[in-house]
Symmetry: C2
Subunit: 484 residues, 2 copies
Amino acid sequence: MINYKVILNFIGFLLILDGLAMMTGIPFSLYHGDDDILVLLITGSGISISGLLLYYFTKSKNKSKEITKREGYIVVSLGWIVMSLFGALPFVFHGSIPSFTDAFFETMSGFTATGASIINNIEAMPHGLLFWRSLTQWMGGMGFIVLSLAILPILGIGGMQLFVAEVPGPTKDKIHPRVRETAKRLWGIYVILTFAEVLLLLIGGMNFFDAINHSFTTMATGGFSTKQDSIAYFTSPFIQYVITAFMFLAGMNFSLHYFLLHRNFKPVGENEEFRFYSFLIFAFTAVIAIGIFTTEHSGVERAFRESLFQVVSMITTTGFVTADYELWGVFYHTLFFLMLFIGGSAGSTGGGIKAVRHLLLIKNGALELRRLVHPRAIIPVRYNNISVSKDIIFNVMAFLLFYLAIFVTGTIFMTLIGLDFLTAMGSVATCLGNVGPAIGGVGPTDNFSHIPDIGKWVLSFLMLLGRLELFTILIIFSPSFWKK
Amino acid sequence: MINYKVILNFIGFLLILDGLAMMTGIPFSLYHGDDDILVLLITGSGISISGLLLYYFTKSKNKSKEITKREGYIVVSLGWIVMSLFGALPFVFHGSIPSFTDAFFETMSGFTATGASIINNIEAMPHGLLFWRSLTQWMGGMGFIVLSLAILPILGIGGMQLFVAEVPGPTKDKIHPRVRETAKRLWGIYVILTFAEVLLLLIGGMNFFDAINHSFTTMATGGFSTKQDSIAYFTSPFIQYVITAFMFLAGMNFSLHYFLLHRNFKPVGENEEFRFYSFLIFAFTAVIAIGIFTTEHSGVERAFRESLFQVVSMITTTGFVTADYELWGVFYHTLFFLMLFIGGSAGSTGGGIKAVRHLLLIKNGALELRRLVHPRAIIPVRYNNISVSKDIIFNVMAFLLFYLAIFVTGTIFMTLIGLDFLTAMGSVATCLGNVGPAIGGVGPTDNFSHIPDIGKWVLSFLMLLGRLELFTILIIFSPSFWKK
């Protein structure tokens, strides 16, 4: 039986958080004399108080009441939806994003750390709302780390049990105690890294407001910027390298940061996903840097910096932009489209398919041929010196096929509502992968404002699907989920 | 140990066949007074005699010498390559296709029953060469039916053991006796259906030469036509419906024709792949017919006929064309691109991924969600009332992922040599799927002559990969294949 009281109680807690968080940008608006102070104050306190009431009236007397797996799926899915529905309100009430569809798209893009935007003039937005917009990504990233390193492994989704450094194992049907403990540790790292980036960006000459906003959206691999031109606005190579470095760190498994903080470099260097993730970034950067150096004649350092930045931005699914890669020719354009399907490391804030899944499938592909030659031999995939069971590879393959089926279905739908083929493919791939920019009409210098409303709702749903590793959402649509 | 003598002996046999077959079109050229008679006669007899010598000098005294699995892989792969290499010669010697690259592409497109062409003026070709061109498809189709219903199940490729009506099972490491028996039965059906189509096309008013050529290429789901405009040239609705019907029959599992010939309709109606294959054709036709009826205002019958013809042509991987679907708008255009990835039934002459693989993966996808809800339950996929082992589903998933990885790699390569993104995707998808026409610069009214030479070689390789269900070729590139 599903305990709806527990679920509502948790939603109440999230609403308190949502409302309080949206008021944190008020000091910036006070300082700049912006006109969004009253809206943030009233909306924020309204949502917090509603949340408090909901929390209070659904409070269980039984302290030891735990959340079961099924309730976990519902809480996680509803959590992201409720946060976005209410988080969108200040944009609408203030009038800077008058359409609720647009505001919801923007907020979902925030909480899922996608970074796709419908705003045509970001610099015209008041500071409080901009801060809230960046904060949705930072909070979404925080939520996702805990989800992917503490909750999904227990739920057993898409091979996730394999990707965490310490495999918790599905010992109990309850998820509460472990989550709290893991969350504390990971959030510590997340906060430390964010502060470090703020500091370095300030040293690079960025103002405090921009530094904190970009640090929030870098660490979440979100990609919202306070500038219409994204990071291309900041021409300082130092700033661009700092952001590149922190995107790279945010795209790593956060369990590895734990080792790094304890100066234990061996497990990091030996981690196969980390090596594969680094190799992918190196390989794509090398090919693209050589290509644009020979065709664009922009100088070695610039070719290297732009390639590295853009590759790291796409593979970590951040989505910041320093160069319009659509001008680099169809081959590069195709590579960037492909990168939408890679994704960061598992256990990072990155979205998409994830490096480890690709690695496991490449390894399995090579072994499939060996298995054909020796049909009777049992030849398991080895990952980080562990034999991976065929069931986990099975899960990973199923995940990838679901991902591609959703991509194909989404693309067909987008062409049906009038998008051209490239824009349809690009918008679906980038939203499902939680990246941000794509190709065609949603390229690095475009935004999503021109997509029809129904398309924006579908893309918002795809962002959510991608963020919650597909199955968390899909399982709720499965009839057997609701059967006793 | 690989017995190269047996392999060479088989290649000798194939060359005899290749040479003799290319001379069969000479009567048509005699009748029309064409200038290709001498070329066909000299090339054909030269190849036959070379083949005879090779066959004679590699003949084993040990009559009971059987081919092993490993030799089977080599014979099959080499067979298609050798047939195409030598089959291309008359086009070059005659001068109607002066470039060997082009002639090889055209002949590989023939033997793999793809139907992609580089000829810019088909009507200018002499009749003997045109007949040879159609015959390559008919022979390739014949070869493939035996391959897919008698050889691949024994080799255990991509779940093929499941797709045949009577599962032979890998009882022995030898493949000879069963192949001969199965081949005889299937070829009987293939020849009967071809004759029936010739007869009906003659009744529809087609001349004898066109009727026999188009029957050859229909039954092979090949799609070569003797007309530059393909079937759009034949405006008779009767002819178009006849060809539609025979494409549909050719895209069915040939084991089912066996039942049909014995008037045993029940196993056909109950076959899940056949039902799924019919459903796909029905669904795509309905959506497209309604769409073009409402937008093109071409009359109900014509909208139905053109939609049905084009859908059947693409799903069976034939590739005949009666209408330029690229004019129907981006949504339809996307649907046709998608159809390149479906494929006919297993055990048909159709190429591509095959309906049954999609069906199994859809079924498995639905069950994956149930498995997440009930992690301890064992929930197998059921197909034709049989529980399918997880290993077979695993094989099918691996096949699909290999297919997509090859598609992606091929597309990137094509953009690297200068094709635009759509043409790159289209050319790779249509060659790998053995279809023929695609989208972009290789749409239904274009051909492949403008592709750079290196691209034609890559596409030829992709046709071969697709035709031989990927693994037959890939396994030869696996190091463990060559280890003792």
